[in-house]
Symmetry: D2
Subunit: 318 residues, 4 copies
């Protein structure tokens, strides 16, 4: 008999981002990506995208260096939240509770095997747009302003890890994430990337190989727009704002999403993304790429520059 | 404590369609929508879209009149399949098994409260494209040929029902479908439409009010394309093929999808669709439209012609 | 022997627009359409779109009622300018010179047979973007900011006229405009619309039938965006900004352009447009629609509301 | 006083293409690009795109090697045709008449300074689609079938030349083509590319530096689709048809068009293109890139592979 999947994680939630250049970072997220500031609190600024149902989804935090502060998941129910905490505590990954933060949480904070900080929560606050900011159709959350790249919401996060399979198994076994693609050698000894999701979307959490001795680093956060055409528009916006484009617009082989990579002025890599397949089969097995087939780069799409595979934040290897 | 959702249905599966004009219907699905014939068997033809992971997804069946032969769901596991059958049999909806059909099934056949035929199955056959039809990227299922409207897969089905809330509750209670939008009067006595889904997609199964005394009728099947631009292209293709366009291209208020409605030569209404929101919140409540707000048609989008609300197949009211 | 066309008009130039609500009108053009203010002078504001090579292209003028102040054409050379003025003066259409206005002109002002004010000029000033507003690629004119509907430039103007053929012939005979489509009855006695251009673009100047006793009225100005997808985005922006959408997004039969009509808060109708065919054949004859074929509305596209055919500015018939 | 431009060339017309693999070449143009065969005559096949107003626009000719047979221009009038022939004969470029070919011509054949064969004609035959192939809107030429990349028409041609400025001046002085961009060193001694047009479109005829001792070679023919989204679709189609993609989809710096390059099975390079700016100013000067600025590649867009700059047909340097 098939083992049945668990459904305890609903979606990626709020995340925190460190930046040594808060002003530049906010200019990038607000004026170029099109997100809105919902609150400010000392060194921290709370932002939301127009498609977020929760009050906020990104906390930009002034710091001495760039990097991820945390990534979070919303659990599907209070019971699901507690089941996952029980699993963490039973498997040597006990964390601690962090208090409610501007309507969201409390959150249970812990680390993945590479040391990235994660938070798990259920309680949240739905966004209620102020008068003048409500959308015409009430099933939306906020007026569509069409500013800059106009990202709709966070799509996925890519983390660097020295031991990709250890991280992958942590989420598969502990949280029921499904893995849709893996790059690894025939003997399984060399696994360099894995694409995972809590839903039918092809990727929410990606691990790719950390090539340095650092740990807990961010490869990129990806925000989604509604069409490939909007990814192309974003390239125009970034180019004219003199934000260097690291890669794209082009198409990834894995998950087949359309991408554009820049770095926000604080140094963190950010993707503007559209597409990627949906996985409807409840019993699909991950597609295993062997390194040779992977490097053959079937299909279409521009080559990625070498720095794409090594740069992360904190940029510890400069 | 919150009741936790069940996840026993994975997605809409194969469906059957009756047509009094098999030749015209096949021309429509193959040459205009861009689907492929995978097998023929007397009066029945098996078709697939290029994004289907299963071998086939549509069985066109010659008959004396148009209409839906069946709609199906694939269960998430063998256990899930049996849990749902147990529920059906325990609640007075017992059906019967139908045999395996060209690699898919056996399926358990039953009816919803309005008399529409449904099938439930788990066993299936993944499509293996013949040499020359394989996509360059092996996570795809079939070469992208770009013929006609080039639909990727079935998106949702809309069924007419005399008692919309009865049908809605049948799926909510028996199968754990989530309802994302409802149109009904303040006193709840007049519910005219409901949009339901087994996943984060805004709609898979829709019920709208049957205005005649008929039962078990189809409003439309919707096939999805990759962009709104492709819906516009489809309009060009249909117009020049002299297929009358009933409505669109435009945008629906409910679920916010972009639509185009035609009728295949057999008479069944078919939508070419793109978009519609995704529902990430695991605890979102359905949005309840009152009829006045609904008729106010907030947002943008062309008005639907009167026939849109009354025509269905079989076209029993001519 | 074929008569050879003249090429004395290069393109539609700057235009002036009266508004009883300058603040509302500027909000519309700047925040929603995405144009920029380049100068202010009492009741007049000078605007440009990011694709304009000239310094400004629209002068919004506070007034007691909405309506067109003038439409202009840039001549292809000083000689061409004088040839056209000679023609005007020789044919009883003498006008007068208006002085240089913020870098553009002097312009020769005259009226078409319906009394619309036109200006003809050659001298102009190329836009030089200030530091920080320059595009990355120097063949552009201005940074691509992607604000709101983000219109690129004026595309065409539609004027109401009591005698459409008289206006059409005025431009054909006096200026060498080419007419690409005409709607008229078989006996030629009833001509209700004509689409004209100085270039390969399907329409720059349109005349449609004035149904009132007024003269010199505006039907609409149309601004162009880069894709149909951007017309759809504009609909979202207008709807959420609570600007009523009069028609579209949909596709016109004439010239086959994709359209969206709203009225700026001052009352003037404005189109956000994309597409329309190009006419390469130097010897193409206008396509003559008879009224019956025209009303049959071949192809696809939503019906236009009745007000579309009667409303104009000044709104003299209220 | 400004010199006034001539307008004797209307647009690029029919062209001939040599191929050593007629079957493969026809598969490419018909099944992948979506063009139609209108006639066959021994080793020659006549093709048209759905947006061509003339009967045919491409003659594929079996030969021992790939390469351009000829490029043509349609003159704006019979007088214009004879004026240009007079110029050719007066300036030492006399050619000869070639007979009418399936409704088009006679054509006057001559060579540019690099030895590329050109034809000039006025007489032509408008396409009359057979019953069942007529578009719904009668201003179109042919039913929109949406097959494969579905190119609308020829957009531009790029020819390799050992002496780019000589070729550029030939067209400027002899035919009134306008040059919109040039790449050349500060001292003018090194001119490596020029983009020219007979209309407001940014490019119809391009010359780029020939790096071998060959002459008369083709860099590429470009066919246009209606949106950047369709260029991306074309990449999918080519990739899955196992046609190698040489470059793109991405965006060019010059003229700013969106591109995708493949080679048809006979070896000729073909672009699927969309966009590129329009030049409205009648007095715009060419933008002169110095090689350093040019290599700095401002804006966005993938780098071109080295072979892009050297490969041409005939492929004499293998």
């Amino acid at each position: 008999m098939t083992t049945e999947p668990t459904h305890d994680l609903a979606h990626l939630g709020h995340h925190g981002l460190f930046t040594p250049d808060p002003e530049g970072t906010l200019h990038y997220f607000v004026d170029l990506l099109g997100m809105d500031v919902v609150a400010q609190d000392g060194e921290a600024t709370y932002l939301r995208a127009y498609g977020d149902y929760e009050t906020w989804s990104l906390k930009v935090i002034g710091s001495d260096q760039a990097g991820p502060a945390w990534v979070s998941w919303r659990a599907t129910s209070p019971q699901a939240l507690h089941r996952r905490i029980d699993w963490l505590e039973a498997h040597g990954h006990a964390g601690r509770w962090t208090p409610r933060d501007r309507g969201i949480g409390p959150s249970y904070q812990f680390t993945d095997p590479d040391g990235h900080v994660f938070r798990l929560y259920y309680d949240t606050q739905r966004y209620s747009a102020p008068e003048g900011q409500r959308p015409a159709i009430p099933t939306g959350f906020q007026r569509y302003a069409g500013r800059g790249a106009n990202v709709r919401r966070l799509d996925h996060v890519n983390l660097l890890a020295r031991d990709v399979p250890a991280c992958r198994k942590f989420w598969e076994e502990g949280f029921g994430l499904r893995t849709y693609e893996i790059v690894r050698s025939a003997d399984g000894g060399d696994e360099s990337a894995a694409w995972m999701s809590s839903s039918i979307q092809g990727h929410e959490l990606i691990y790719t190989r950390e090539h340095t001795s650092a740990n807990g680093r961010l490869h990129h956060f990806a925000y989604v727009v509604d069409s490939r055409e909007e990814v192309l528009r974003a390239a125009e916006i970034f180019a004219d704002a003199r934000i260097r484009i690291e890669a794209g617009p082009s198409r990834h082989t894995a998950i087949q999403g359309f991408y554009l990579y820049t770095r926000e002025p604080g140094g963190n890599r950010v993707e503007v993304a559209h597409g990627g397949y949906l996985v409807f089969a409840p019993d699909s097995e991950p597609y295993i790429w062997n390194p040779k087939e992977w490097k053959g780069k079937p299909g279409w799409g521009a080559p990625l520059p070498p720095e794409f595979h090594v740069y992360g934040t904190p940029d510890t290897v400069r």
